[in-house]
Symmetry: C2
Subunit: 213 residues, 2 copies
DNA sequence: TAAGCGCCGTACTGGCCAGTAGTTTTTTCT
DNA sequence: AGAAAAAACTACTGGCCAGTACGGCGCTTA
């Protein structure tokens, strides 16, 4: 009996905890969403936490119960784009049945989609990374390096398999990363080109760089 | 006689003035050089003018006798990379005897060189443009647009002339601009790759994007 | 050498802002 | 209902920084 009661209590406590942590996650997300938008518009250093709080309809101490300080908010923002991209990259590369050309196409398409979706996060990351603490900076730099490394590997194998031109240096991985990162500086959601067109163009460009035609 | 005297006086005054304006130009240059370096390292908003002055061995009011305010210094920095690139672009395109392929190669090579030389200026421009006044912002944006437009035109003519693949959209001009702008985020002067190698790679990449092979 | 001028420095201010201490409100549990 | 705990707010501070008023020093000119 006591064990049943205990289990029930634990289960209930567990449910409560998870509900509570869902609330916390939700609020945390809202904060980085709004903060990202404001950092994007005004720049990290010239954006005050009072402003972020105002835009959320709360006050500054509220933010401090979810993040240690201003820099922690920035770190959370910077991590979004790169961690999602890395996740998609690894999920895509897991499919062993595809050709290297198909893999490259799919990776570029998926990551391009994420970069467009998370445009503001990506731009803030690119512009404001230098304000991160050394620890956060290194963690994010490692993710970025891992991304580039895996693309370079994909290129190398594709060249070996004869799918890409043999005079293709695996360093084009960095150039392809450049194409992807470049999108947010000129694409705007309501603009002339749809995100679909942009992604198609991106894929074409990446394939040309890889010599896969 | 009076006219000779006047001329002599004017000539002398002119020489003085030009010498003086050379001094002014020199000091102005030193300011944007040092400021660019500090804005590059710390970001525009978190870099104080006292710090800039310290690094020049002068004091803050000195800066205010050469620039109206902090933003004017930023504007001067932002203009360097793009105005030099535009000048080189137009000088290169003036050579009527070259093929479109040769013109594209030369433009990319020259602008790549400028971007590497002026790396810090270019990065500050990309990151901090949003802190410019509307007037400065527009002036610089127009230069940038003119650059992209002329590259697009070059691509279009090259396709027409049969030098580039016929399924090449002139929008690759923007992608090529992306490759060039991407260099400063990963190239470092003392690093593994020499600037010559980087530029060769850049040219190769640009030609592949244009379908000129 | 003395007067005049211009260049640069000293010293200040007014406002802004990250971060915090202590209080009030809301929720939870009995 | 009422107490205890959790969540959010009010109100403040200490330091920083763009921009400025004014003073002094050296340099020209006669």
């Amino acid at each position: 009996m006591s064990s049943i009661a205990t289990n029930a209590r634990e289960a209930s406590a567990g449910a409560n905890d998870s509900l509570k942590s869902e609330f916390v996650a939700f609020k945390t997300n809202r904060i980085i969403e709004v903060a990202s938008n404001l950092f994007y518009q005004r720049g990290y250093s010239s954006c005050t936490l009072d402003l972020v709080a105002d835009n959320l309809g709360v006050t500054k101490p509220f933010l401090y119960s979810y993040f240690k300080n201003k820099e922690a908010i920035l770190a959370a923002i910077c991590e979004v784009g790169i961690s999602e991209s890395l996740a998609v990259l690894e999920a895509t590369l897991a499919d062993e049945h595809k050709t290297h050309r198909a893999l490259l196409t799919e990776v570029v398409r998926q990551v391009g989609r994420i970069v467009i979706e998370r445009q503001e996060y990506v731009v803030v990351y690119q512009r404001e990374m230098k304000h991160l603490s050394a620890t956060d900076h290194n963690r994010i730099l490692r993710m970025r390096a891992s991304f580039d490394h895996q693309i370079a590997e994909l290129i190398r194998e594709g060249v070996e398999a004869g799918e890409f031109r043999e005079d293709t240096d695996s360093f084009v991985a960095v150039w392809i990363g450049g194409l992807i990162s470049w999108i947010p500086t000129w694409y705007s959601p309501g603009g002339q080109r749809s995100s679909g067109e942009v992604i198609d163009q991106l894929v074409t460009a990446a394939l040309r760089l890889a010599g896969a035609e």
